[in-house]
Symmetry: C2
């Protein structure tokens, strides 16, 4: 990934030196941040709002492969993935802590890139980096991100709030991140067999970006507020549409009817899935990592969302006894099963 020649050894800086160096570019802009980096704990002021908190662990060779993930993208994605959980509560993200464990073979320049990516994400999403931990790792690269945010009590959307008759909606399109990953894995294999061959990713920018540089849907939270829509239930799509639908159904004690032909799939995702011999619908259902928002709204809100190009109504919620089913394009009924990504490989 990088050469150690002419690079700065992080051992020369020491832990405090490294933290100071990395955090010098940190700016605080959120009004809820009272005190950021530099004390035992950060101090935040959410006044009359509820505090939201979520955390993610990203481990080398489990969640990312440094052979094709650029470090700056990795820092960016680590933040996005975690912010997405705050937006999935229908809240606004406002702060993160960012911890890294890295082996001393990492030159300073490499750590800087990860951090730079994280800070670009913070800036773009108006989030303050207020703390973290920096440590040596005798194993691979470890990243842990915790996000905080806030919401008015009556705006918070839990997984458990879906009601029978609600419309099932999703933002953006699905399956792209997974198909992008297949493309990157294929090129990695080709490269490993013959390092002279340059990766062929031409024209595939969109799905590569979906995998390497996902965007949490802050804009969707803002749009829903503008449309005066309060979702009854909401979750972000990290493990695949099927798994997330089942989470909502279980937590809300409802069933659902999902229409396959309504699932939004980008043409490039569709075509590339086909090239790989994959069913695009399966990629959307089980691929994961799209970080779109899945939510249910009362039928009465249909008029408010129907003109929105970035929101697809993909089905509706039923009584629990009817189960969780997908109506296929050919009209068959299939039970929805979770085959989402599992960190333990089962």
């Amino acid at each position: 990934m990088f050469e150690n020649n002419d690079k700065t050894n992080i051992n020369d800086l020491g832990e405090f030196g490294l933290i100071q160096h990395l955090t010098q570019a940190v700016e605080l802009t959120e009004k809820s941040t009272v005190k950021g980096i530099g004390d035992d704990a950060a101090v935040l002021d959410f006044s009359d709002k509820k505090t939201l908190i979520s955390t993610d662990l990203l481990l080398e060779n489990v969640h990312f492969d440094l052979r094709y993930v650029p470090l700056k993208h990795l820092g960016y994605k680590a933040v996005q993935v975690n912010l997405s959980d705050i937006y999935a509560m229908n809240g606004m993200a406002s702060q993160i802590t960012f911890s890294i464990g890295l082996s001393s073979k990492f030159p300073l320049e490499a750590v800087e890139e990860i951090y730079e990516g994280a800070l670009i994400a913070c800036k773009k999403y108006n989030v303050d980096l207020v703390g973290g931990d920096t440590s040596a790792s005798v194993q691979g690269l470890v990243i842990s991100v915790t996000s905080m945010g806030y919401a008015d009590t009556d705006r918070i959307a839990y997984r458990s709030g879906a009601k029978e008759g609600d419309l099932l909606c999703v933002s953006g399109d699905l399956g792209g991140a997974y198909v992008g990953l297949q493309l990157l894995e294929r090129e990695k294999q080709i490269f490993l067999e013959n390092p002279q061959i340059q990766p062929d990713l031409e024209g595939k920018d969109y799905i590569i970006e979906r995998q390497l540089k996902p965007e949490a849907r802050k804009d969707m939270i803002e749009l829903l507020a503008k449309l005066h829509v309060k979702p009854n239930a909401m979750i972000d799509i990290s493990d695949g549409l099927a798994s997330e639908i089942l989470h909502i159904c279980k937590a809300s004690n409802v069933g659902c009817k999902l229409h396959e032909d309504k699932i939004p799939i980008d043409p490039m995702t569709y075509e590339t899935a086909r090239e790989f011999g994959l069913d695009p619908t399966v990629c959307a259902l089980s691929g994961g990592e799209d970080y779109e928002l899945l939510f249910t709204v009362p039928q009465a809100d249909y008029d408010k969302i129907k003109g929105q190009l970035d929101i697809s109504v993909i089905g509706y919620m039923t009584e629990a006894a009817a189960g969780c089913n997908m109506i296929s394009k050919s009209g068959n009924v299939h039970e929805i099963k979770a085959q989402g990504w599992n960190a333990f490989g089962k």
Copy 2:
């Protein structure tokens, strides 16, 4: 550490199954917890208090050695270490998130022990476990803990609040955790050379516990409140007394005079340090991991704290130009230098 025979393979549970299994014992008792585990983010309500947040990363073979750290102690300590940062703001800890990355060679029973230790700590300190992440690790064991808490604005003690003339105080005693570590390392070496020899730790319970099972000083925060003492500055001692004093001096732009003969060192720490040919004062200054609280109070508060057996006045703050010095037992003046533990080994 453990055999895989007759143990439950975590792969059989899958990620969601593992989370469900581990979290079934979680009880929520904090009134500021609105929603704990089970949604995209936890929801907390600190009403008119400020929110405090801190995070730590603990990595196998950097922060702990599974050859002598019992897993339950590891879970317990991981929580304590992080709560300590909230208390060091003169606040009350109320929630944690607890993330684990573990290789699939870990049987379920091993993960349960780590979790059990974490939950014992939560229960003892009235802290709710409200979230986390559980992942496979192809490397060693990874633990990431984030703590939240709260404080009234006018009670928060930053590192930067120390004033010239303040008394420099410390809770408990110092150096024990470091000397306990030396003892464990020695017994590990003996064991590695001859596995038939049982570890000889008899009569050393106190310093072994200081290393393996530290207690964050919540009681000290409660005591200071009861005594109507508001520290001007506060920090917890994770890297050693010297390093923490320098943090306060730098952040507060003051100097200090530390009296060696006032540094509280337990007799067992003292004797065992001597057995190892170590200077007990150096163990206190640079050993770290004691998780005691270092704080400064106005001289006017002296009468309020002087009768407290668990608080030692070890010096006082001076103007910055006078530097940070220790007056040795023989009356010599030494500049205080940080030789605290550095994760990057320098």
